[in-house]
């Protein structure tokens, strides 16, 4: 780690409060959230009963409280995960990730400042346009206790809205940086694809997490400016998340050494295991930067065996009879996903992966022009197992890599998964 492992131990303000303030300090993190919900909601309902506020005040107030609680649950779930991320072996990518973690977890000034700006903005607006508060609070308007309660709740919301915005903005920034840094990889440098996957799923969770701000829409809809603010906020969250997800798609999963073999070699060996005996056959395959694809016939033994057990191993190797040191081999193991079956589930999968299937078809046409020509010209004379019509006679298998081993100069290197 470039800037030392201790630096990630620092926490968000919210987490520190949860760790230090008495009722929460004694509870495990999962109960903290429940305790928070019960505490704030009880106070709110008591205030509602005491001051005889209108009914929609309690509903909207509860929605706001639910928002803060859902957010807190997300926070306690996502942040530890983020801290556990392992470092890429490529120095530039490592720096991008280090900066990202630093900005997100250690930048207390941005955290407090942004939240204060949000809070002051909403507070000023409520102060100028007092009708909203008057409408909601009814007879309680002007009560100092209620005033403090409103202040706390709006700080809570402003703080959380700002942090959501900050995380998504940072995620988009990081993804773009990572995609750019990935181009400078050499040899075996890379970001383990499990980490890429983790970051991607974190982005998705982040989107849902920030998206819970939808709960605030009913409250905001009572005023033109507040609704404008919340719609702008949701649009920004969605936009940044999309940018982040798309940039993550550009990060290749394997180091350049492995990719060069996968792109240039023309044959792979697929091993399937059922009924106590493995079965190995050569296939032609395509690689799109992430997954390995190969097409098999419905009539083939492989199809039958993969249906029984979808754990497969695929070996791609670069042969050189002249020099033992020039031989390179990649062994990928994982689950095979069948694409293009005409069954209810198969059609659903085709619906999801349809565009990819067309892309892979083009990939094959580009990589094996002679094979494709042969299949096309001899279509009438070939036996059924050799027909290459998609859907009718062929099914595509996508290998989801779980374990990757790479041999170079007769030494195996296990790539992190």
């Amino acid at each position: 780690m470039s800037s030392g492992p201790i630096s990630w131990k620092r926490k968000w303000l919210y987490e520190e409060i949860v760790e230090r303030v008495p009722p929460f300090r004694w509870l495990p993190p999962t109960l903290d959230v429940v305790a928070q919900l019960l505490l704030v909601e009880t106070v709110g309902i008591l205030a509602f009963l005491y001051f005889q506020m209108p009914l929609n005040a309690v509903i909207f107030g509860s929605l706001a409280i639910v928002y803060t609680v859902v957010w807190s649950a997300g926070c306690l779930y996502v942040i530890p995960w983020l801290r556990r991320l392992r470092d890429p072996t490529n120095e530039q990518e490592n720096q991008v990730l280090a900066r990202y973690k630093n900005r997100l977890l250690n930048d207390r000034r941005a955290e407090v400042l942004g939240a204060t700006v949000c809070f002051v903005g909403v507070g000023l607006y409520l102060f100028i346009d007092q009708q909203i508060l008057q409408h909601f609070l009814g007879t309680g308007f002007g009560n100092p206790f209620l005033f403090i309660l409103i202040l706390i709740l709006s700080w809570d919301i402003a703080y959380r809205l700002w942090l959501s915005l900050m995380t998504t903005l940072n995620a988009a920034w990081r993804s773009i940086g990572l995609a750019r840094a990935a181009r400078s990889r050499r040899g075996l440098e890379y970001t383990a694809y499990s980490e890429v996957n983790t970051l991607r799923s974190l982005d998705l969770i982040n989107l849902y997490w920030a998206g819970t701000a939808v709960l605030l829409v009913p409250i905001a809809s009572t005023s033109y400016f507040l609704s404008l603010g919340i719609v702008g906020f949701l649009a920004a969250i969605l936009g940044f998340s999309l940018i982040s997800l798309m940039a993550m798609e550009l990060v290749p999963w394997f180091p350049p050494d492995v990719e060069s073999v996968l792109f240039h070699e023309r044959f792979a060996y697929v091993s399937v295991y059922t009924k106590n005996e493995p079965h190995t056959t050569p296939v032609i395959f395509g690689y799109d930067g992430k997954y390995l694809y190969f097409a098999i016939s419905f009539k083939s033994a492989k199809y039958r065996l993969i249906k029984e057990n979808n754990r497969i191993a695929v070996l791609v190797d670069m042969r050189d009879k002249g020099n033992i040191m020039n031989n390179r081999t990649i062994l990928m193991r994982g689950k095979g996903l069948l694409l293009g079956e005409l069954t209810p589930f198969g059609i659903l999968r085709m619906f999801i992966h349809g565009l990819w299937m067309i892309k892979v078809r083009m990939l094959f046409a580009k990589k094996y022009p002679k094979y494709m020509k042969y299949y096309k010209e001899k279509a009438d004379t070939l036996p059924p197992a050799w027909q290459s019509t998609p859907l009718l006679s062929r099914v595509l298998v996508r290998l989801e890599p779980e374990q990757v081993t790479y041999w170079r100069e007769a030494i195996p290197i296990s790539l992190r998964v």
Binding site: S271, Y273, P278, T281, P282, N309, L315, L331, Y374, Y375
Partner: protein
């Protein structure tokens, strides 16, 4: 019905000449074994084909992954093929499914040993270490041969189904676990 079929197939002799030639002349083979967690595992291997006994021999490290896998589950498959990047009709290959034995290097005999080094000496160089190495002997149960669209299947009439004894299985597993440690 099935037994009739088996007899019929067993009567189909012998292994085609082309398959024998392919096994004799190819340089690399692909050995597929089964891991303890029943996932398949493949490796590229050097091999020699013993035409007289219809067996394949390979050398590997005593504690290598494949040797450990074979000690736990001795069912393997070996593929030897000739690739033709021009046309799929030119592809031919042999798929052998059967069982493997681990044989000590002293017990293998000079014929196989000489054949192995005759085939691979130029490639391996003289510094090839033989300590802690063992031979893998593959006995085919079934042999598939294909050339282009034509397929051929041969069942080994002399293949005996392995009889597992519980004590053997247990000892093989405990053997491999000590090796892993």
């Amino acid at each position: 019905m099935t037994s009739e079929l088996v007899i019929k197939l067993k009567a189909q002799k012998p292994v085609p000449r082309a398959a024998m030639n392919l096994l004799e002349n190819q340089f690399f083979s692909y050995l597929s074994t089964v891991e303890a967690d029943s996932n398949p595992h493949i490796t590229t291997m050097f091999y020699v084909w013993d035409e007289a006994r219809l067996r394949i021999y390979m050398i590997t490290g005593e504690n290598s992954r494949k040797a450990r896998n074979i000690r736990i589950n001795n069912r393997v498959s070996v593929t030897v093929d000739n690739r033709d990047p021009e046309s799929p009709a030119g592809n031919c290959g042999v798929l052998i499914r059967g069982r493997a034995n681990i044989v000590d290097i002293e017990e293998i005999g000079d014929v196989i040993m000489n054949k192995y080094f005759g085939k691979y000496l130029l490639f391996l160089g003289t510094g090839f270490p033989l300590g802690s190495r063992v031979f893998i002997e593959v006995i085919p149960r079934i042999l598939h041969y294909w050339k282009g669209v034509h397929f051929f299947k041969w069942l080994n009439p002399h293949y005996e189904k392995p009889i597992y004894k519980f004590s053997q299985v247990v000892s093989s597993i405990s053997d491999s676990s000590t090796l892993q440690r």
